[in-house]
Structure formats: C-alpha cells, structure tokens
C-alpha cells in the first residue's frame, strides 16, 4: 500500500473550513468559515510598473484571471487618463462575455450541479460531476466540455496567451482581431446561446420540476434579506464590463448608485476579532454585525444580487428568463440564496447573447484598438463584475508610473458577511438538539455556501480553484462531534 494523505497538494487543491459550534443544549450557537490567507500582495506590487499589473493580477488566481486582467486594464485607463477607442472597448467586452459564459458553465455543471442533479441525500461517491453526467447523459457532458473548449480557444485567440492573457494596455489592447476571426467568434457564439438555453431547460426539468428543491430554495433557512450590489448600464440593466454600481435595499428600492471610482465612499471593511477575514459593508448604512435587514450594511454581490440590483437584462432572451424567474419566485427582489444558481444561468444566457451581439458588430475587427496615453499617471480605479461579485482594482503610482500602493476588493470578499450568515442560518435550521449529524445534512449546510460560488483563490489571495472543505461540529466544550472532509 502506498497511500499518502496529502493536505493539500497545491494547485490540485486548496483548503476551506466550516466550524459549527453547539450550545450546551445541542442547538447551533455559531457557525464560521475560514480559508487560508495569502500575504504580501501589496508589497509584491510596490515598485513595479503599473503596465505590468494586468499580467501580475491575472496570476493571483487560476479561476478567473480574465476578470483580474480586465479590471486591471480598466484601472490603467483611469491611471493614465486615457479613453480607449470604441473598437477596443467592444473587443474587451466581447472577450469578457466569452469568459463569463465559460466560467458560469463550469460552475453550474461541475461545482453546483451535483447539489441539484444528484441531491444532498445521494451517496457521497455520486455527488460529483461524474454522477451528474450519468444522470443527464454523456451528450450533455460533451456539450459542456465543448462550451469550455470553445471559450478557452476564443479567449486565447483574442487575448493571446492561454488562460492568462497578455493583452490589456492603458488606452486599449495590444492587438485586434481580423474579420475572419470575428466571424468565427460569431459562429461559436450562436452555438453558445443554444447551449445556454439548453442549460436553462435542464434547470427547469431537474430543479423546478422537483417540488422538494423548490421548497428548499424558498425555505427560510436559505433566505437572507440584505442589500444587493451590481453594475448597471445607462438603462439600469445588468452589465459585466462597465457602468455604474447600483445598490438596492432589501425591499428592492435603489439605495445608492455611484461611479466605481467612488467605491471608498460607499464600501468599508470591518475587522472582527475572531477571524482574519475582513467583511466589506455599506459605509453609509453602517455595520450592525452579521445580520439581515435594512439597518444592516451587509450586502451581497452575486449573480442573484446583480439581477436584483438591475431593472432587467440588455438582451431579449435573457430578459424573458429574468421575468420568468421573478414571476416564479414571487417578484423582485428575491433573497433566496439557492436561487443564485438560477440567476447564474440567466447571466449565462445574457453573456452568450452579448457575445453574439458584439461578434456581429464589424467594428470589433477595426484595426484601431489603442490610444497612446499622454497624461502623467497618478491614481486609477478599474471595476468589472467578476462571476463571483464586483471586482475593484485601485492603484496609486508616482509620476513615472511606478506602483506605490494597491488595493483590491475581489468578488468573493464582498460576500464574506452573507456567506457567514448563510452558513450559520442553514446550520441552525438543520441541526437541533438530538439531531444525528449526517453527511447529507452537512452537505445541505455547504449548499448555502456553494451558492455563492466562493472562490477563495483570490479572496484571500489563496490557493486557486479547487477547495476541499472540512466541516467540523463542536459541542459546548469544544469537543468534536462530527467532522467531514470533502473536496
């Protein structure tokens, strides 16, 4: 026997923990999650040229390098006070739409799919992508992988290097695409739209067709009434690449709408003594702790909150699905954490439609894709919607463009407070005095967590991608009642 326990093999795995504490009565008193923390990012960046930031920050994480690349590139536009030509903006958004569609596809099928397709009570060995495929069929798996492959191929074609693109520059991009390449993008985009529609149909039949799931989605244990954040265009429709940041209150009324460059006036980070995680909250509402409601500055930045924060989708098919989702779930806003999966699919459809729209525009093949910056650099903020939430890059430089200070607010970080709240509430609703803590039950606790698609790869600047999770239940004296580890 040559079996070695490796914990974790880096790159193959990272590591997260949920700890559930019971009171003397055996009820859940508290539940926390923690993840490893990476250090020294700012120190690493200081002294480097700002132009290198898109290629440094896109290495923070192996999961969404494209989001960091584009946010960093937009921060450079602001830093050097330069406005890219229309073709460059469209090309960046096209690239970004393809990335979004690819990333949402992976999350739905590989990461969250097992929760719904297999269900939490399925045997542990089947609750993974292989189980999903056995249930939905091999042809679906083939389509999922083709979608990923097309996405990666086009991202490489447009952005250059595979995965980590070496592409964004202040004032534009390093190269454009040819007319023939545009037509290829368009062709694959049409297939992607069909794939997204198919995914929504699959969700309909597997999830919405199952009353147990519908009840679970709408149950109180998976519901949090918080503020919602998302980027919107000039008509308050969802946009991933550019626009204003809009925040709606828990009742669905617009609370704030601001330019991303003003984020520090609206978002502040709370430090709590029991964790090194910092919890962003809405400064103007104030920190009241990890609680719901209009008086608490806790907000969510997820696919569902982007839909809640908007007035609709900018493409026709996604708009139809948007309306259908809200009609089914009782109107806007929706605060059911598990509905985030549905919202993610609506966004997938939007991303593919936007991919086709931009691919249909001859201007994306225009050779003029850069304006040279002339102004002296000083400070710049760039913001996009990453798949896991609003992503903000903020750089300060000296007049030579050498970095003196850096601040990043990454997607998952926005959701630290709601994730902590969701985990605790799910645990409280499921674990009571005398409950036998089963694996399926802990899986239900984790479902509250997974809906956020948490990627601690960059949130803590930690090991990217895969995140084995350890769930520990402790009694009032700190003794371990149950411990489950999983990938």
């Amino acid at each position: 026997m040559n079996r070695i326990t490796i914990d974790p093999v880096t790159r193959l795995e990272g590591h997260g923990k949920i700890e559930i504490f019971l009171d003397p009565e055996g009820e859940v008193e508290n539940a926390y999650f923690q993840v490893p923390e990476l250090r020294g990012f700012e120190r690493f960046c200081v002294g480097r040229l700002a132009e290198d930031m898109p290629n440094i920050t896109d290495r923070i994480c192996g999961v969404c390098p494209e989001a960091h690349h584009i946010a960093a590139t937009k921060a450079l536009d602001a830093l050097f006070h330069v406005d890219p030509p229309p073709a460059a903006k469209k090309l960046r958004e096209l690239f970004y739409s393809i990335f979004f569609a690819t990333d949402h596809t992976t999350h739905f099928y590989a990461l969250s799919g097992p929760d719904f397709v297999m269900g939490p009570d399925a045997p542990k060995a089947e609750r993974n992508i292989l189980g999903v495929i056995q249930k939905v069929g091999m042809d679906v798996a083939g389509r999922v992988l083709k979608m990923r492959r097309d996405g990666h191929d086009l991202i490489a074609m447009i952005g250059g290097r595979r995965v980590q693109p070496n592409w964004g520059l202040p004032g534009g991009v390093s190269r454009g695409i040819t007319e023939a390449q545009r037509l290829e993008v368009l062709e694959r985009g049409k297939e992607a739209v069909e794939f997204a529609r198919f995914s929504l149909k699959l969700f309909d039949s597997i999830v919405l067709g199952n009353p147990v799931y519908v009840e679970m989605i709408q149950s109180d244990g998976y519901t949090h009434r918080t503020y919602d954040m998302g980027m919107v265009d000039e008509k308050n429709r969802v946009n991933f690449y550019d626009g204003m940041i809009r925040v709606k209150d828990p009742e669905g009324r617009e609370a704030f709408k601001y330019h991303a460059k003003d984020y520090l006036e609206y978002v502040e980070e709370r430090v709590e003594p029991w964790t090194y995680l910092k919890f962003p909250y809405l400064k103007k509402v104030g920190w009241k702790g990890l609680v719901d409601g209009k008086d608490s500055g806790v907000y969510k930045a997820t696919p569902l909150s982007r839909l809640n924060a908007s007035d609709g989708m900018a493409t026709p098919l996604a708009q139809e699905e948007y309306e259908r989702m809200y009609a089914t779930l009782g109107g806007k806003p929706v605060h059911h954490t598990l509905a985030t999966h549905w919202a993610r699919l609506v966004e997938l459809l939007y991303a593919t439609e936007r991919w086709v729209e931009l691919g249909s525009d001859p201007e994306v093949a225009d050779p003029v894709v850069r304006v040279l910056p002339k102004a002296k650099p000083d400070e710049g903020i760039g913001c996009v919607e990453a798949p896991r939430g609003t992503l903000t890059h903020h750089y300060w430089t000296d007049e030579r463009g050498v970095i003196t200070r850096v601040n990043l607010v990454v997607g998952t970080t926005n959701n630290y407070a709601p994730i902590a709240m969701s985990v605790k509430k799910a645990a409280q609703s499921l674990i009571h005095k005398g409950t036998v803590v089963t694996d399926g039950l802990l899986d239900r606790v984790e479902m509250a967590f997974r809906a956020y698609d948490p990627c601690f790869g960059c949130a803590t600047h930690s090991l990217p991608g895969q995140m084995p999770l350890e769930v520990t239940v402790r009694d009032a004296r700190g003794g371990v009642v149950e411990r489950v580890r999983r990938a």
Binding site: R3, I6, G40, R59, G62, P114, I129
Partner: protein, 157 residues
C-alpha cells in the same frame, strides 16, 4: 508515444512556483527530444484533464504541502491522492478529472505520474523560493527525467 510533462504552480507564490521551474529546466535538458512536450499550467481541475487529452503518458510536477520536510521529493500516482477528496461534491480533483475524460471517451494518458516537492511557503507573494525547495529543483528535474526514461506505458486501452 506522446508524453506530456506538465509543471503546475503559481509563479508569484514562492515555493508554489517549483513545478514551473522544474518544467522549464526539463525542457532545456530535453532540448527538443521528440515525443515529449513540456508545458506549464497555472490552473487545476478540469483544465488539467483538458491539457492531458491526447497524450499516452503524463508527468505532473507540483508543490505539495503535507507537513513533511521542505524540499522532500515524492513520486506519486493519482491513486495516492487521498480518497476523501475524490468522493466529494465540490470541485473536481485530478483522479475525478481523469475519470471524467475517460468516461467521455477522450484519449487520456494510460499512465499519470506526479513528482511532488514538499513546499515550505506557498501563502506569500514573492518570486524567490525558500532555500530548501530551491535546492530540490535539480533532484526533481532528475526525477522527472528518470520517469521519462522508464519503460513506456502499454498502448492506450
């Protein structure tokens, strides 16, 4: 027979870069020897499977954090990776990714070997590796070359 040597890691995270550095040196030593591609990859999961498709054999080089002695080199197979991670819901690990590829009928390598180098610091952004891990680079290169020199796997089933 086609062989892939794949260095895994993040070039900015200290010892986590060791897999990438070993791969770069292996490429240099092989000097274009036919039948072997040497590449680097910063992502894991499904992407790993996609990268290995079409090869008969793969040798992965990666940093490991197991609480062992920094710089220690181990040669593993996917089966040596802990089972509790493979029977789980979130994410997709190497054995699962390989199984998925095979189930889909993709031409996956019939032999996958892992050269794991125990790391000391993978949680801090820096270009330099710790001395113990830097010293393990050459022995790890030798380990990879030995794997390559070993008997080739049987034809793909």
């Amino acid at each position: 027979m086609r062989t892939l040597v794949l260095g895994l890691g993040n070039p900015l995270l200290g010892d986590d870069a060791v897999g990438l550095k070993v791969a770069a040196l292996v490429r240099e030593r092989l000097n274009g020897a036919p039948g072997v591609d040497v590449e680097e990859e910063e992502a894991g999961g499904l992407r790993l499977m996609e990268r290995m498709t079409g090869y008969d054999r793969a040798v992965l080089v990666d940093a490991a954090v197991t609480g062992g002695t920094p710089g220690e080199i181990r040669r593993l197979t996917p089966d040596d990776l802990p089972t509790q991670r493979t029977a789980a819901a979130h994410g997709i690990d190497l054995p699962r990714a390989l199984a998925l590829g095979r189930q889909l009928g993709y031409p996956m390598p019939s032999e996958v070997r892992i050269v794991a180098i125990e790391a000391e610091s993978v949680l801090e952004f820096r270009h330099e590796m710790t001395p113990a891990v830097a010293a393990a680079v050459e022995p790890a290169v030798a380990a990879v070359l030995e794997e390559l020199a070993a008997a080739p796997p049987k034809e793909r089933p």
